[in-house]
């Protein structure tokens, strides 16, 4: 008898007939269909013949794209897992000076988009940069006298992506370590496990699903990355899609590349599912206390400190410091009318996207709450799947149908009114916002759905029996109660939109630049120091969710009641959209 509203009753035919198709349900289906559209379009191109282009691509560049993307995934996967899991274990179960600080500081690199860190390290490490200049001054060498690794290479891209993506693994594995019952760890210690065996034979296997989810997220972000690989001239899929479309002017072939990449991601999701395995990792007890920590002393303490400090230094302090120094120098010149216009564009775009994402996600999550059936659940899952799809793919999938629709609209107005009204959908802000919805709706949906899930269904029932319709119930009960989570969801989408590069680059209206686009353009022109002010602006805004997370982490001690902050932490962790989907 418990929670009957969550199950689909087996209705008799006479009654099924009157189960009205509510507007909420319709909304869920329409949203799911719209979100799925670009992905379906891209996948459909697998079957569209494109003449010789595809054969040409398949025989020339495609094997290279696949190999490069695989190497990227392997490299970044190993790097992010090692750093993420290692630092998580270190700060969760060891005691060393500065542990508290590193607990949250280790998240900071998350604030920096991969392309920004790539520009920054290129500026620092290339021939004219401070590092090589210093080297030459100290040694007296000149050009060609010494070997120096080229940052603009596949290994360079792996390092850059690892530096900014490891926090996903850190975040999820730290949460998993914290959730492990102290009893399990104490039992293993009484059974004679030292710290190392505790880690490898108890903590690590128990945390494996969380780690797998974190790594999957990292790999998706790796495949999504466009700015770094494009700038480093690393021929991965996203760079290839861009080149095929913009360079060769072959949208159909670009779509086919995008389809292959999408299948890649589908395979990734399946592997993650399978990797969870059959072993149960649910916790058998629920006793949580402050975890007993291993106290590190002397050399060990120094090593621990170093291990925790290095990712923060290299992943955040050095690049942010460099950006700040350059921005001080170039700011007065770069920050002009145009910069402000771009900042305003960015703000408007990100705000509209955030409000839209939260509104759509709220309506969908509430519709699901009102009437959950297999069909609506599936529709919601479809609507959340865009998060796994790279921005470049989405851009291709959005532009093709919208351009076609613009063609029909213009044919229609031409035939009936004798005017062609020009591009209404493609090449306008509509296309960009649509792409953002496809990619980021999952973030807001997961945050909002989990926060709605914490409100007992009896609240709805009480409001309804007290004479309020579903919409009034949503406005008067759910929205006020969940407003914190709604704001969090909006901020997350805002920041992600602000950082987004490939979809914006491919879909933005003519002469409509954002800060990310400006940084990209300046960097492409090798004006790396000039790219610092817009980059720094993006990083500064990107710090907001990291700060929210940090506060949450500082407050989320095991054994404490769930707080508002923890809810934020969870909804941020709910960027693990695919995990649900």
């Amino acid at each position: 008898m418990s929670s009957p509203s969550l199950t689909e009753p087996a209705a008799t035919p006479a009654f099924r007939a009157f189960r009205r198709f509510s507007g909420w349900t319709a909304f869920t289906f329409v949203t799911a269909a719209l979100i799925a559209l670009p992905i379906v379009v891209v996948l459909a191109y697998v079957f569209v013949p494109s003449g010789g282009i595809w054969q040409h691509l398949a025989s020339t560049v495609l094997p290279g794209y696949i190999a490069t993307s695989l190497w990227l995934m392997i490299g970044v996967g190993i790097g992010a897992t090692t750093i993420g899991v290692g630092t998580a274990w270190l700060v969760t179960l060891c005691h060393f000076p500065g542990r508290r600080l590193f607990e949250w500081a280790l998240l900071l690199p998350m604030a920096i988009p991969a392309y920004v860190i790539a520009y920054t390290y290129t500026g620092l490490l290339d021939f004219a940069g401070p590092v090589q200049t210093l080297l030459r001054e100290v040694t007296g060498w000149s050009h060609g006298d010494y070997w120096y690794p080229d940052i603009r290479s596949l290994p360079g891209a792996i390092v850059m992506l690892t530096l900014v993506l490891y926090p996903y693994v850190y975040l999820l594995s730290r949460a998993a370590f914290l959730e492990q019952s102290v009893c399990v760890l104490e039992v293993s210690r009484t059974l004679g496990c030292g710290p190392w065996r505790c880690f490898t034979s108890v903590a690590l296997p128990l945390a494996r699903p969380a780690i797998a989810t974190g790594v999957t997220l990292v790999l998706m972000e790796t495949l999504n990355d466009f700015g770094t690989v494009q700038y480093f001239g690393v021929s991965s899929f996203t760079a290839g899609i861009y080149r095929t479309w913009m360079g060769m002017g072959e949208p159909a072939a670009a779509a086919q590349l995008a389809a292959v990449l999408t299948l890649f991601i589908g395979a990734l999701v399946i592997v993650e599912r399978l990797s969870r395995g059959r072993g149960r990792t649910t916790h058998t007890t629920s006793k949580y206390r402050e975890l007993p920590r291993y106290h590190l002393h002397g050399v060990h303490a120094v090593l621990g400190l170093l291990a925790a400090a290095l990712p923060v230094l290299i992943g955040f302090v050095v690049p942010a410091g460099a950006l700040f120094t350059w921005a001080l120098r170039t700011g007065p010149r770069i920050i002009d009318q145009r910069f402000y216009a771009e900042a305003i564009n960015t703000f408007i775009l990100a705000s509209i996207a955030a409000v839209l994402a939260v509104a759509v996600a709220t309506a969908m999550a509430y519709g699901l709450r009102l009437r959950r059936s297999r069909a609506t659940t599936y529709a919601a899952r479809v609507a959340s799947m865009g998060y796994g799809v790279p921005g470049a793919v989405i851009a291709v999938g959005v532009l093709i149908p919208l351009a076609a629709m613009d063609g029909w609209i213009n044919d229609f107005t031409d035939a009936h009114f004798g005017v062609r009204i020009g591009l209404v959908l493609s090449g306008t802000i509509v296309a960009v916002l649509f792409a953002y919805m496809v990619r980021f709706l999952a973030i807001s949906f997961n945050a909002i759905e989990s926060s709605l899930g914490k409100i007992t269904i009896h609240m709805d029932d009480a409001a309804r029996t007290l004479g309020h319709k579903p919409l009034a119930t949503l406005l008067r009960i759910h929205l006020p109660i969940t407003k914190g989570s709604l704001l969090t969801a909006a901020i997350l989408v805002f920041v992600d939109v602000m950082k987004e590069l490939p979809a914006t680059l491919l879909l933005r209206p003519f002469n409509f630049d954002t800060l990310a686009i400006r940084a990209y353009q300046l960097a492409s022109d090798e004006r790396l120091a000039d790219a610092a002010p817009p980059s720094l602006a993006i990083v500064l805004v990107g710090i907001i969710p990291v700060v929210m997370l940090s506060i949450a982490i500082a407050k989320s001690r095991p054994g404490h009641e769930a707080t508002e902050q923890e809810r934020i932490a969870r909804s941020v962790a709910d960027k693990t959209a695919m995990e649900r989907a």
Binding site: P9, F18, A462, R464, T465, G467, H468
Partner: protein, 363 residues
């Protein structure tokens, strides 16, 4: 349509969640001003019946009417917001972001703020929570939250008040007190009320009539003392108290027992029957000094005796009877503590002894 007709009526209501049928042709009716209890073990369908009446759950089969007006039937579903029912939930479901006053005002449709405020204070005074109007739910104790939930449900003057296990969240000392308070508030308001509970004592304390449910079916409907003293079947009998039980075969319209034959006038000879005796049906006295027992009195061994608050509780061994070892319990008011191993004289109160055919046999 109004008037003497039932205020709430469920007719032939059948409901299933997936393959599990939770209600099976249930008929329930509540008359104006009546306090009706749905009583049964968890999973018997009582809460589903309540939710169907409120309109929170959509009816699958049958018919539900409120005040003579059909609100749910084939092709018809009046949503909860248009049924004018008040509901109190097990967890109270007070809106955490609204203070007590605004919680109570939530269901008031009057446009005039002053009228709403006046009505809200009126019901808050009724439940003794007038001083807490500005408090927020998390600042209140469980009992206070329950009162506010009741006030919130009563404020719009509902046609029917529905209470879903309203006291189960309270600790046992408080429960009796709040139960009594709720009974008076509800009765004073004159509202027709349906209470769902799994506690027979609670049902007997509150109800004008009780509907006993089991596995989706109505087992018996009646006054509390009818159900206790004239239960319709073994389920109803055992649900109201712990029970002493043995089986026998009907011969000459009676079943043999250690206390002599027990009448079973409605059962045919040869029927296997079960005999159910409430613990207080075994009247225990000290053995007479001369050791002579009247007819129908048995000499029985005491295995243990314990004081359980107001009564003494005895474990009695009746030895072998028709091949089965019988171990009975008896409840004797006040202090009656025979020594373990002693014998006592026991007679049977036939009014609290019931004979039913064993399952699968006709009466």
């Amino acid at each position: 349509m109004h008037g003497v007709s039932d205020v709430l009526k469920l007719e032939g209501v059948t409901h299933a969640f997936g393959a599990a049928r939770v209600l099976d042709s249930v008929n329930i009716d509540a008359k104006a001003g009546e306090l009706l209890c749905l009583l049964g073990p968890s999973g018997c369908g009582k809460t589903t019946a309540l939710r169907l009446a409120a309109g929170i759950e959509e009816l699958q089969q049958g018919r539900i009417s409120l005040g003579g007006q059909v609100v749910a039937a084939a092709g018809l579903h009046v949503p909860p917001e248009r049924r004018n029912v008040g509901m109190v939930f097990q967890d109270y479901a007070l809106f955490p972001h609204l203070n007590v006053l605004r919680n109570v005002q939530f269901g008031l449709a009057e446009t005039d703020a002053a009228t709403r405020r006046k009505r809200a204070f009126e019901v808050l005074e009724q439940v003794g929570m007038g001083d807490y109007a500005e408090s927020y739910p998390h600042m209140l104790s469980g009992g206070q939250q329950q009162r506010v939930a009741l006030a919130r449900a009563l404020a719009p003057k509902p046609r029917v008040l529905l209470l879903d296990e309203p006291f189960s969240g309270l600790d046992s000392n408080l429960r009796a007190h709040i139960r009594d308070e709720t009974l008076h508030v509800v009765k004073d308001s004159g509202t027709t009320t349906l209470i769902v509970t799994h506690d027979p004592e609670e049902a007997m304390y509150m109800a004008d009539r009780i509907v006993v449910m089991n596995a989706g079916r109505v087992e018996q409907i009646g006054l509390p003392d009818e159900l206790y003293c004239q239960p319709a079947n073994a389920f109803v009998t055992t649900f109201f108290s712990s029970i002493n039980r043995f089986e026998g075969t009907v011969r000459g319209q009676a079943v043999a027992s250690p206390f002599g034959p027990i009448a079973a006038p409605k059962l045919a000879d040869g029927t296997r029957a079960e005999v159910l005796m409430r613990p207080e049906a075994l009247r225990v006295t000290a053995m007479p000094a001369d050791g002579r027992l009247a007819d129908g009195t048995a000499r029985i061994l005491v295995l243990d005796a314990r004081m359980l608050r107001r009564a003494s509780f005895l474990h009695l061994s009746l030895g072998e009877f028709e091949g089965v070892h019988l171990h009975f319990h008896s409840r004797v008011p006040g202090r009656f503590m025979p020594r373990i191993g002693d014998h006592v004289a026991v007679t049977l109160d036939r009014a609290q002894t019931f004979v039913f055919p064993l399952a699968g046999q006709k009466a």
